[in-house]
Symmetry: none
Subunit: 200 residues, 4 copies
Amino acid sequence: MTSTVAGPPRSPGRPRSARADEAIIDAVLDLLAEGNTVEALSIEAIAARAGVGKATIYRRWSGKESLLADAIRTLKGPTPEPAGESVREDLITLLTVVARKGDERALKIMPCIMPEVNRSPEQYRIWQEVISPRREKMREVLRRGIRTGELRADLDVELTLLLLTGPVVMQRTMRWHPGLDDTTLPARVVDAVLAGISAR
Amino acid sequence: MTSTVAGPPRSPGRPRSARADEAIIDAVLDLLAEGNTVEALSIEAIAARAGVGKATIYRRWSGKESLLADAIRTLKGPTPEPAGESVREDLITLLTVVARKGDERALKIMPCIMPEVNRSPEQYRIWQEVISPRREKMREVLRRGIRTGELRADLDVELTLLLLTGPVVMQRTMRWHPGLDDTTLPARVVDAVLAGISAR
Amino acid sequence: MTSTVAGPPRSPGRPRSARADEAIIDAVLDLLAEGNTVEALSIEAIAARAGVGKATIYRRWSGKESLLADAIRTLKGPTPEPAGESVREDLITLLTVVARKGDERALKIMPCIMPEVNRSPEQYRIWQEVISPRREKMREVLRRGIRTGELRADLDVELTLLLLTGPVVMQRTMRWHPGLDDTTLPARVVDAVLAGISAR
Amino acid sequence: MTSTVAGPPRSPGRPRSARADEAIIDAVLDLLAEGNTVEALSIEAIAARAGVGKATIYRRWSGKESLLADAIRTLKGPTPEPAGESVREDLITLLTVVARKGDERALKIMPCIMPEVNRSPEQYRIWQEVISPRREKMREVLRRGIRTGELRADLDVELTLLLLTGPVVMQRTMRWHPGLDDTTLPARVVDAVLAGISAR
DNA sequence: CGTTAATCGAGACGGTACGTCCTGTCTTCGG
DNA sequence: CCGAAGACAGGACGTACCGTCTCGATTAACG
């Protein structure tokens, strides 16, 4: 007797190469880290760098957009799990980018990815899907803060989400303020938003 | 002899057509408003729409980047002048986009311009130049608020700038929160940042 | 010991499917008859039409060239055997195409096969092998005619072979003269070449 | 006053470069002469060899087919003008290929062009157009021969055309008979067809 | 009767060429 | 000299096949 239970529904034909997947994603990240611009990122260059035919890319992704999205997904690593002790700590955790372990390319790449997000509605949709888990976790933390009394009872959750993520994303995207260090920024933004800027 | 007074150092040959300038800028804004995406914005399409030769565009701008910058500059209208009575009112004024009178395309175009800004260092430099006057005015308002005691004495001006502009730009770019109306957003952001979100 | 007589050198493993052979050849002929052009004949299309994997084709033939050659070989049927009574009759017999019984595709396919023959030296070699038996038989008939006195004693056999086959092949290939019926053509060519066109 | 008569209807814009035309045709002939096969003739290779963008080729020709036709047209030189003294001489003249002066590539290229002619109906149409003038002149010579009594009164002109051109084209295409020299072939074919091969 | 081994279908693989589109430059003519 | 028009070299796009390769599943003959 071999097996009476139905195994996984394996599709016929040669299975897709996991090596190719990795090589392609890696080529994307390499080229981004080298060029620091998305303009220099052509499918042909990716295929050449990955040692892969163009068709192998198009078999997996519909275009540059979704390929980029997956590359970033890979880069970002899993959504961090907030400790749940204080609202402040949890928000800082969720605002901090956790790159895939050992990937130094993350910080170089992030700023030049952001601008791509809104170039087309489709790209935007894909990107939303990528970051929505983290955003949902932030909403939960805010709601918990209201319940526990750490935050105002009349808080507008959506507005607050914008107050917290807007500055961090913008700084990451635009690098407008050279004096603001990226590693300490989440903490400073959270503290300022918690406290307000008015004099007492 | 036709003229004895020294005229302005007029170069010989046919002068540049002001009609062409307008037609080109208008074509850019039209195409952006129609397509809602910058990807579909090619120099060839702009030239065709404007009824203009490609060379006429390249004679005036170095490339798509600076053309876009000028188009936005035109769209935005002049930097608003804050009244100077209260920090709150002035910040709201400066965070509100004032479109060129009678141009309904502004709100449709803004979100799809933002992402272009950081695609290359050059484009970023141009964009900074466009918005730096407004940012400088905001700094002045913040410093005045510190002097008048309306704001905390230990306020980090650059961080606060980020706290105010980040959410507004992000919402304009990403349209993440459908419930947040764009016209009332600046006021709500300013109020929230002034007050903070912590329970008292 | 199971067998003392030396059986056929049967290789182990699953034997090749005769159904596949037929399906492939048939798919080739179908596609040729449908498309009336060799350009539309891709290995992938053949495999799909035959319901066969590409590897099954490449296991049997080295490429499109030899597959085509075999398809034609199948189509043509065996070399006809001249009766040997008169040179005229024998030449007409040898110039007439005898298609495999019941295959109406032959006449549609022939013209579009011819051009393929000379696309590469290899293809040419294969083709020569296909038609050489028939050509050799024609040479014999011509030599016999010289011996029997039916033909000139100083006849150049190779030149005459060209005089006879050239017009028939060309008409079949190019269809230049719509008035010349394909079924009566061999007889008319033979008669004209035998008699000459000069006035007496 | 410059000119009141309507000049040639010059189209606006930069005129097409004659240099490009020549370079492209020359590249085609070079690649054919080198490779001796049409399979190795890609548009990309032609563009590279000619130092020309692919678009410059597609602006002038609809595809490989019509480009090839023009290349051959150029190679062949003008249709020869028969002297009109004897049918024999005129036919030999018309059957002999006159290559463009000083172009040694002609003889290498001709054989590998022929097979292309019938790969598709469109290609066939183009080719017919290329050689129809020469064929029409041959018809005239044959009709004149009938009138002058040099040829049989009951001659079938179309059949005779086939008898003459078939062998020459076939030998040129297939190179089946190595002993038959291409330069003397037209004369030998004409003589044989004139005289017939039957014993007297 | 189970092992062995070549076949089958399916389809992914690294490539090459296709024909289209856009870039930024140039070359023509007319204003 | 500027204007439109449009050709130029170059290069990326996404598609279609090429001929090869890897899968799990058949299908015989051998042991």
